[in-house]
Structures are given as C-alpha cells and as structure tokens.
C-alpha cells in the first residue's frame, strides 16, 4: 500500500501517463482507498485540462508592428 506522500511524488508522472504499469496499478489502488488523494488527483487533472483549453494568446497590434520593424531592420543589415 502506497502512502499519500509516495502518491504525491508520483502524481505528475501518473497524470502524464509516464509511470510503469506496476506503479500505475499501485497508484490507482491508492486513490480508490484514499479520498484525499482522489480529490487532489482529480482536481489537479482538471486544472491541467482547464488550462489546456485557454485561448491562444495574441499580441497587441502595436507590439507586432514594432517587432516586425525590428526584424526587418536586422534583415536589411544582415542579408543572408
């Protein structure tokens, strides 16, 4: 039986599905018996999913314009 602290140390690999099947089995068994770790695991997984759905970032038009101007200056001065 894993302890909660052992579960926590494996949580990232567990959520990323990077654990061996043996360890995964132990982790899965642990969360069926420990409500605290189930909650931590479930809400951490949801946290990741929520952020995965974040809208892609866009930069303000003036920032983009200054970036392109800077790159074009470099291109002009450093022809390949």
């Amino acid at each position: 039986m894993l302890t909660c602290k052992q579960f926590l140390t494996e949580l990232t690999d567990f959520l990323d599905e990077k654990t061996t099947s043996e360890i995964r089995g132990k982790l899965e068994r642990h969360i069926t018996e420990c409500p605290n770790c189930w909650v931590i695991c479930d809400t951490t997984k949801k946290t990741i999913q929520v952020y995965k759905g974040m809208e892609s970032c866009t930069i303000p038009p003036d920032v983009h314009a200054r970036l392109m101007a800077a790159v074009e200056r470099k291109m002009a001065s450093c022809k390949k």
Binding site: M1, T3, C4, K5, Q6, L8, T9, L11, T12, D13, L15, D16, K18, R24, G25, E28, R29, I31, T32, E33, C34, P35, N36, C37, W38, V39, I40, C41, D42, T43, T44, K45, K46, T47, I48, Q49, V50, Y51, K52, G53, M54, E55, S56, C57, T58, I59, V63, H64, R66, L67, M68, A70, V71, E72, K74, M75, C78, K79, K80
Partner: protein
C-alpha cells in the same frame, strides 16, 4: 476553453476500481458519524475508519492550513533531484546567442508535432526569405510574448525580449539544426534574453530559472474539496479567463514558465527541459509544484457547492 469537457467525463482513471468522478469521494462525516458512511448514490460502504491510518499519517493541520506531512519528504526528494547536475542557465549575451543557440543539436524528444511546413519555412528563411521568417514569427510571437511576460512581469521588458529573441533567431538561423522544434529553439533564446533583463533590473543578484526556492510552502495543500462538475456555469467566460490568469500570475516565475510551456503550450517534458536548460527531473518537480499550487488556487472557485474544504479529513 471547454471547461465542461474538462470537468466532466464518465470515468476518472482507466482501470480504477472505484469511480468517484461523478459523485466525488464519500461525503464529509460529522463528528458523531465517524465510523462508516455510505458512498453517495452507490450504496457501497466506505470504511472510513480504516483510511486515516494512511491519510492521517500524511496530512495534518498546521497554522490553519492543511499541510501535507509528505512536504518535507517530497521537498527533500526534489532537492535531491534539483541538486542532480542542473545546468547553469546561460548568463551572458554570447551564450544566449551562441552556446544556447548551438546546443539545439540534441535530439528532440517526442512531443507535440510542429506544423509540417515548418522545416520548409526554416530552409527558406535560412536562404534569406524574409517572408518565410515572418510566417514563423506570426506563428509563435504570441507564445513568446506571453513567456517573456511570465518571466519579466513587465510589458516593456517583455516587448524588448520578443524583439531581441526574433532578431537573434534570424541572425543565428543557420545554427538551427532542425533536431528540435523551432519553437523550442526560439523559447531558449527568449528565456536567455528575459533572464538578462532581470539581471539588469536586479544587478545585485543572479537570476536564473533553476534557483532553489525550496521553502516548503509551495507544497502545502490548503484546499481539499471536490470540484463542481460544471463550475463554469457559475462564471462568465471573461470571469473564467480572469480566474485562470490571476491564478497563474500568482505563481513564481520558475513555476509559471514550466507550467506554461508544458501544460499550456503542450511541449513535452523533455522539450521543456531543453528550452529552459533544466534537467528533466527539475522540470518534473517544478511542474508538480505549479500544478498543485494552481489546483489549490482554483479550488476556491470551483469546489463543489456546499462542500467544505477539509471535508474528508
């Protein structure tokens, strides 16, 4: 964002013998009802009294917060992995434009795929095609700007970093060997530029993304409460975006950066390590801390209605 999809689902983990994804774990018990309590809806008896032998040995109250007693042990384990030969972040302009750029010859680890036309665009840009390079800029400028903001926390500095990163990328494009994704390579340049900005701002101390900040506080679990199945229904889209942004902005830069690259941008752990010049174990330890801290912050907003934190203790 599809919060509904993120918070629903028929099962939590494949192979789990007990599925609490729809019901949550057993409801909280009163002090008079501490022996056995049935699972909600399932009729199964959950032997609560047997659980605390595990849980109570690992979780305890401390200064008004639920503290994982594993923290010290976990922190010690993380300190050990962080001690394990973390490479120094490049610390000068030469390394950011030279060493760091040249080191991309390492074999890229599997991760999200770059667009199929990327190698062609890079080849054209390397031959002097500015239009091709502009397409690459358009593809990644937003992410690089967000990364720069994450590290510098300053819009003006972030804009400088953005410009310097792409100018250097153009300048050193012939050193890009195509073994890693262009984005990973660009991130590495941008991170170096951002760290240089921080050093200039705080010239009295060295700044790096791999510095030790093992206070233990960052592993404290304060909120243990199941989330509402549809928490987004309580908030507007703007409110959700605000909640997510505020939570991530509350992280320390090293956690914010690792989390953004790994979980928002979708780089693999290996690619994140390469981009930030960290070891894989160091990325994993920072990622775990970032995820736990964000989970903790979001629980305040998303926890199941009427479900008190610490209900399961």
């Amino acid at each position: 964002m599809n919060l509904a999809a993120a918070t629903s689902g028929s099962g939590y983990l494949p192979g789990s013998t007990r599925d609490w994804s729809t019901t949550g774990p057993p409801l909280s018990r009163s002090s008079a009802d501490s022996a056995v309590r049935p699972l909600t809806g399932g009729g199964t008896v959950f032997p609560f009294r047997t659980m605390p032998q595990t849980a109570a040995s690992a979780w305890t109250w401390e200064n008004g917060a639920l503290r994982d007693m594993a923290t010290d042990t976990v922190a010690a384990a993380f300190a050990a992995d962080a001690d394990a030969q973390e490479p120094e972040a490049p610390d000068d302009e030469v390394s950011s434009g030279g060493t760091a750029v040249a080191e991309v010859s390492r074999v890229a680890a599997p991760g999200s795929e770059a667009p199929s036309d990327e190698l062609d665009l890079i080849a054209r840009a390397r031959a002097g095609d500015g239009a091709a390079f502009s397409i690459l800029i358009g593809r990644y400028e937003g992410k690089i700007f967000r990364l720069a903001m994450n590290i510098t926390q300053n819009r003006e500095d972030a804009e400088d970093v953005l410009q310097e990163a792409f100018v250097k990328a153009w300048e050193h494009l012939d050193q890009f060997q195509g073994n890693s994704k262009f984005y990973t390579w660009a991130v590495r340049i941008a991170v170096n530029q951002a760290l240089m900005k921080l050093r200039k701002r705080k010239s009295d101390r060295t700044i790096s993304l791999d510095e030790q900040i093992d206070t233990g506080e960052d592993m404290v679990i304060r909120e243990v409460a199941a989330w509402d199945p549809d928490p987004e229904q309580r908030y507007s889209r703007d409110e959700i975006n605000g909640i997510l942004t505020e939570a991530i902005d509350g992280l320390l830069p090293i956690y914010r950066t690792v989390f953004t690259l790994r979980d928002v941008d979708g780089l693999s752990t290996e690619e994140t390590a390469e981009a930030l010049d960290l070891t894989v174990p160091a990325v994993k330890s920072r990622l775990l801390r970032a995820r736990l801290q964000l989970r903790d912050k979001l629980t305040r907003f998303f926890k199941r209605k009427g479900d008190d934190a610490f209900a399961y203790m």
